[in-house]
Symmetry: C2
Subunit: 143 residues, 2 copies
Amino acid sequence: MSDSKPAVQCGIEEALSVIGDRWSLLIVRDVLRGVNRFDSLQDSLQISRNILTQRLSNLEEAGILVKAPIKSGARRMLYNATPKCLALVPVLVSLIDWSTHWSEKTNARWSRVIDKRTGEAVRVDLVNKEGEPVSLLDLDLKY
Amino acid sequence: MSDSKPAVQCGIEEALSVIGDRWSLLIVRDVLRGVNRFDSLQDSLQISRNILTQRLSNLEEAGILVKAPIKSGARRMLYNATPKCLALVPVLVSLIDWSTHWSEKTNARWSRVIDKRTGEAVRVDLVNKEGEPVSLLDLDLKY
DNA sequence: TAAATAAGTTCCAAAATGCAACTTAATCGC
DNA sequence: GCGATTAAGTTGCATTTTGGAACTTATTTA
């Protein structure tokens, strides 16, 4: 009996093995903004239908989305975000932050994640156990 | 003259168009932990050499890595992180955080990003403009 | 100065992705 | 209630991307 895959070595690899393809995070983004039907996802993303089928079923299997009929017994489906999906928001926000600061294509009309209570954009901060900000220059990657 | 690619609609797409494949973020992780030679990257990642060549040149072109000979005129190369690369740390940390909380495979030996001054693991926080924490439940994705 | 090494490149095989047409059942309009 | 439309896929094939192993070329090292 030989291992089919080498053991995952770190959380980055582990996460990427689930959402590290060209489509999954975009599907997550769309579902979180309420695009939660097969055809509307296809329209929004311009993804090919068979790949969308595959990705949705991967995300469901990973516990990131749940599929349910619009009402019991119906054929129309809704894909909804689980808490595990919502927990990906910091990943999305850190990607948005990075593009905002470092892409020459940055556009003010781009989607942002906002605090409903204030309407203000939310960002991501690196902090220590106590919640105090940590500078990028003080970091080290331990393996 | 027709557009070769549809315009990018959001920072998430923009970021993923640069680092959204199965290898780029792992290369970034490795370079940040000091794995910065062609052969050591190949050993560490078990990536095929031609793909590694491609990815490194994409990352260089994107301003994420810089390639330089070990000493001037030499053939041995070093791939080094730019500030734009270092700015990806919050993305890496948010992925690590997500795996830590939501993967059943979580392993304490997995790599972490630590604060050099204290040796403590660093995490990512969602905050508003004032740096105050914002709950996942108060968020909205605006498009 | 011969042997080993680093950094690729090349060629081919395999896998993933994309496209368009087709299927099937549910739902809508009348 | 019934025919037309729609939603959610599936299927088959073409294209693109990835992977693997051997080869190249210049550079170090012994």
